[in-house]
């Protein structure tokens, strides 16, 4: 009887911690957004930020400070939203792919998507858009990611089944191939263009505009919502293909769908912001250390924390070295690694942090 009471308490504690973390993260994302919108080359007081947001949500503008209104609404708001969208998308995709290939080292780029996207983008940046059938930079990046995925799915298939080991190997191979071509393009490119290439490769949110938000936001939102409904099946899949089948999961169909949806989410994000690294690897692990392995808790928290984390990092990227803007992809790793290492070390000794 005593053990029963004890187990019930542990379960409730994990559940309670999950709820606290969800509420806290949601609050932090909202509060962080307001703070981020006020921070930058020109600081706008929090009160004004709120009034500007309220004015625009009501369909108007904030007449008392039109310059501040422009800065906050036209420049910082789409950028902050894009940061949240990208962080959410990459974190959710990373979490799902780790279960799909059953490898905790997987990230959203493990199937060669980032290398494919980089090839497309670098082709536009070095050869000009005419060389890639007149595609815009984001379109070329997305096409590159899609081509890489198609190749990986074709190579990772055996007897109609997508096998984790083959998928990983195919992804890594296609990644190397695309990187080789990308390097060649860089080598041949005019030196003036290399800075732009490097900036894109490290990832940047500086080009965010309202008009470009729709596609990534829609894909990330829709993709995340669908993936949340698959949390139970993801748990089953983590135990192995045979076990998942014995638990009633149509593994072949589920894996293909998960790959397509995560690729859509990742592809539309990379197309806008470049291959921002580390978020999709770090956040899933961080979240598992906080709330355990159950995807019904991991996915929603990863979505919130991922968005919040990239918002934080991007705000740091554009303010830390003012007026120079740091590539966000550098800071995701520099800021994230110590946090992850600290949690890992703590997890060894404190059973509460698993």
């Amino acid at each position: 009887m005593e053990t029963k009471v004890a187990t019930a308490t542990t379960a409730t504690r994990v559940q309670r911690r999950f709820r606290v973390l969800m509420t806290g993260s949601a609050g932090a994302v909202l509060g962080g957004t307001v703070l981020a919108l006020g921070t930058g080359a020109v600081d706008v007081p929090v009160g004004d930020v709120v009034r500007i947001l309220a004015a625009h949500l009501g369909g108007g503008r904030y007449g008392a400070d039109l310059i501040g209104d422009d800065i906050v609404w036209q420049y910082r708001a789409p950028r902050a939203l894009l940061a949240i969208v990208a962080g959410t998308g990459l974190s959710v995709a990373g979490t799902v792919l780790q279960a799909v290939v059953r490898n905790p080292l997987a990230d959203p780029y493990v199937l060669g998507l980032a290398s494919g996207a980089s090839l497309g983008a670098v082709a536009v940046l070095t050869l000009g858009s005419a060389a890639v059938a007149g595609l815009s930079l984001p379109a070329a990046a997305f096409a590159g990611a899609a081509a890489a995925l198609a190749a990986v799915l074709a190579l990772g298939r055996r007897a109609g089944q997508l096998l984790p080991g083959r998928l990983l190997l195919a992804g890594v191979s296609i990644g190397y191939l695309a990187s080789a071509v990308t390097s060649y393009l860089q080598l041949r490119a005019h030196p003036d263009r290399l800075a732009g290439v490097l900036f894109w490769l490290l990832g940047s949110l500086s080009g965010a505009q309202w008009s470009q938000l729709g596609i990534p936001a829609g894909c990330v939102l829709g993709g995340t919502l669908w993936l949340l409904t698959q949390a139970r099946r993801l748990n089953a899949l983590a135990f192995g293909d045979e076990t998942a089948t014995a638990l009633g999961v149509d593994v072949a169909r589920l894996r293909l769908r998960l790959l397509l949806v995560t690729a859509l989410v990742t592809g539309t994000v990379i197309a806008e912001v470049g291959a921002i690294g580390f978020v999709g690897l770090l956040v899933p692990h961080l979240v598992r250390l906080l709330v355990g392995a159950d995807h019904r808790r991991v996915l929603p928290l990863a979505a919130l924390l991922g968005g919040g984390y990239l918002l934080l990092v991007d705000t740091a990227a554009r303010t830390l070295a003012r007026p120079v803007e740091l590539p966000v992809g550098i800071l995701t790793a520099v800021l994230g690694t110590p946090g992850l290492l600290w949690l890992l070390r703590r997890g060894d000794t404190d059973p509460a942090v698993r």
Binding site: T3, K4, A6, T7, T10, A11, V14, Q98, A99, R102, N103, P104, T229, R232, R233, N235, A236, A238, F239, G240, D241, E242, T243, T245, A246, L247, G248, V249, D250, R288, G292, A293, D294, R354
Partner: protein
């Protein structure tokens, strides 16, 4: 539940791994599947828990054709399996692992209240009540195997399919695991390596050899010195376990004499 295999055939990469197997498991029976490595035991079991479609023949569950009329999810509501497989370790607790057994029963919006009681009961039934919130990978080999059994029980199955449930366990855990399986009184088909375990715990056994059934029946009748010499290439002397009264085999290599 009654399981019947009718001339089941599986070819993997051209070679016939299972070559026309007929097999019956009656309700409540514990049936052992024996045979040397590579005789087709695991492959045959996979056709029963719906992981591998037979190339010919049929698998019948209570008179329904598993591969032609029963979907994967519906099959998982009546048949639970513990395959020989190790997934990646993402750090699931015992309770979370066992909870996965409810997957085929739960809809998208179902609450977990009823499931929690079933999960708790399954964990208690395998004797792990105090360890529900331990991380599964921190448990001993025998306990881990019992967690997987509990997950199968959480499916509330009417047929249990086990692939070498005592593999890698020490002798205490092996006997405990088999005693537990016996005590469940579920219709069970299990692959086993140890002939004496099969002799002590199974109602009937099937001996597979090169993908075909070489013999079938109660272990005492089937596991004869001739058959064991023929299929396992060992010498055997039948006897009785004085502790349990069940059939027991004294075994030795076929050719070498003890020095």
């Amino acid at each position: 539940m009654r399981l019947r295999l009718d001339a089941v055939q599986v070819r993997l990469g051209g070679a016939g791994v299972v070559d026309g197997v007929d097999l019956d498991v009656h309700p409540g029976e514990l049936v052992g599947l024996l045979g040397p490595n590579g005789s087709g035991k695991s492959t045959l079991l996979r056709t029963v828990y719906r992981a591998l479609r037979p190339d010919a023949g049929a698998v019948w569950l209570d008179g329904r054709d598993l591969w032609r009329t029963v979907g994967v999810r519906e099959a998982a509501r009546s048949t639970a399996a513990v395959p020989q497989e190790h997934g990646a370790d993402f750090g699931f607790t015992v309770a979370e692992t066992v909870h996965a057994g409810r997957t085929p029963h739960q809809g998208l919006l179902d609450r977990d209240t009823a499931a929690a009681a079933i999960v708790r009961a399954a964990i208690e039934r395998v004797g792990l009540a105090g360890k529900a919130h331990r991380l599964t990978h921190t448990l001993s080999g025998g306990e881990k195997q019992r967690v997987l059994l509990a997950r199968a029980l959480a499916q509330q199955p009417r047929l249990l399919v086990l692939d070498e449930p005592t593999n890698h366990l020490d002798i205490t855990a092996q006997l405990e695991q088999l005693r537990l399986i016996r005590k469940l009184r579920l219709t069970t088909l299990t692959a086993l390596h140890d002939l004496n375990h099969a002799a002590a715990f199974c109602d009937r056994v099937y001996v597979l050899h090169a993908g075909r059934v070489a013999a079938a029946g109660p272990p005492g009748d089937v596991l004869t010195p001739d058959l064991l010499a023929d299929i396992f290439r060992i010498r055997a002397h039948p006897g009785t376990n004085p502790l349990t009264g069940t059939p027991h085999l004294y075994l030795a290599p076929l050719e070498e004499e003890p020095s």
